[in-house]
Symmetry: C2
Subunit: 235 residues, 2 copies
């Protein structure tokens, strides 16, 4: 029984391989198609450009990220949600370490490809801050936009930090666990400011719990307060 | 007495103007040169590409930023220094509001130019985090790199937030004052984590001040503590 070909991945692999040996600018679409054993027009059925063939997964990954954000419970902290969403992006790299490491080698050599990846990353960042804006009461949105943009940038920077470390280590090590640790640090550092709480107003656990809140407080924050004081784990 | 021509700015202005009326892809270098009244080869004496002509100031601005960072007193908090350095980038836009607003109109229409600007921005971000790494004791550098990268991303995000607001308002308003306010928020939110302090260890002012520190504490932090408790203004 013949194994079903994955032409898309073969083209990607050829694009990365040829660019590493011959140079990215020097490699033509015709050569990539030939190396993958398909016609030039087949290449353009899968990809818009050579850059596109080097990074074939960002569009689909961004869609997954947006779906994840849209499906997130309104009871969860938006900062926690975007920190989790960064895991979807990391998974895209981690599921195929060999390709990720080869591509990293290539982006380090070719500034245009590095910039292409930076632009792709900026789309995740934008999706994160727009999600946080959307989860914010309309009247507070303007006042909180700075915090949302900074939080989105911080989460993306933490993701890139972990990803780069893992790529430099040749794709060895538990990137997922490192991401969790980094996101814990970042969310702890930013949570109070991003939520609009002043620091130090977390109450100690007690037998009787009174949660004081205002009509304006978002539901997830009330839920989070209750979870914190009762020691229940978050949803 | 003839006024000295600024061919560089005339070429930039022609590049932006023609791209706004005809489209960026549709505008040729020849047309830009002709509009500025110079020869094609003169264009390439000033710029490597059309993109370069649209954003002529980022290279020089990055050099100014790096000089500023290198000249900063080791007694100052690195986070405060990069927050101030972001002001140099903002000034590049603010000193010529009309060009900044026209260019913004253009980058909103042309994704390739938006990506070009995102890549330029990433170079400032990298300079910021490398500066913070450099100001960190070698033994602590690995452990603090996440914080430096997040801090650099946060400062750039805050800068972009203020810049975008000012551009959307047509270049009206005091962008400098808005940047100062935004940076105050961001540095207050991040300072303790970025410095490796736990929150809540700022001492209240008193008559007699005892600053406890360790051999490992960087000099600027000790200076900052003394400034904080004695109410002296930072250098």
């Amino acid at each position: 029984m013949p194994i079903k070909r994955d032409v898309r991945r073969e083209l990607m692999s050829a694009a990365i391989g040829l660019s590493l040996t011959t140079g990215f600018d020097e490699t033509t679409v015709d050569e990539i198609a030939r190396a993958a054993g398909v016609a030039r027009r087949t290449f353009f059925r899968y990809f818009r450009s050579k850059e596109d063939a080097i990074f074939p997964d960002h569009d689909a990954c961004l869609r997954r990220v947006i779906e994840f954000l849209e499906a997130a419970s309104p009871l969860r902290s938006p900062l926690q949600v975007i920190a989790d969403a960064a895991g979807i992006v990391l998974d895209m790299y981690v599921k195929d370490p060999r390709t990720a490491v080869r591509r990293y080698e290539l982006t380090r050599r070719v500034p245009a490809l590095r910039e292409w990846e930076i632009a792709a990353t900026s789309r995740y960042q934008r999706a994160f801050s727009e999600f946080m804006d959307g989860r914010c009461r309309e009247g507070d949105r303007e006042a909180f936009r700075l915090r949302h943009e900074v939080a989105a940038a911080a989460v993306v920077a933490a993701h890139n930090h972990v990803l780069r470390g893992w790529l430099r280590a040749g794709g060895e090590g538990d990137a997922r666990a490192q991401l969790t640790a980094a996101m814990t640090e970042v969310t702890q550092a930013l949570q109070a400011w991003v939520d609009g709480r002043t620091t130090g107003d977390e109450e100690p656990p007690d037998e009787v719990v009174i949660v004081l809140t205002t009509r304006r407080a978002p539901l997830w924050r009330i839920a989070e307060e209750i979870e914190t004081v009762t020691g229940r784990s978050p949803s």
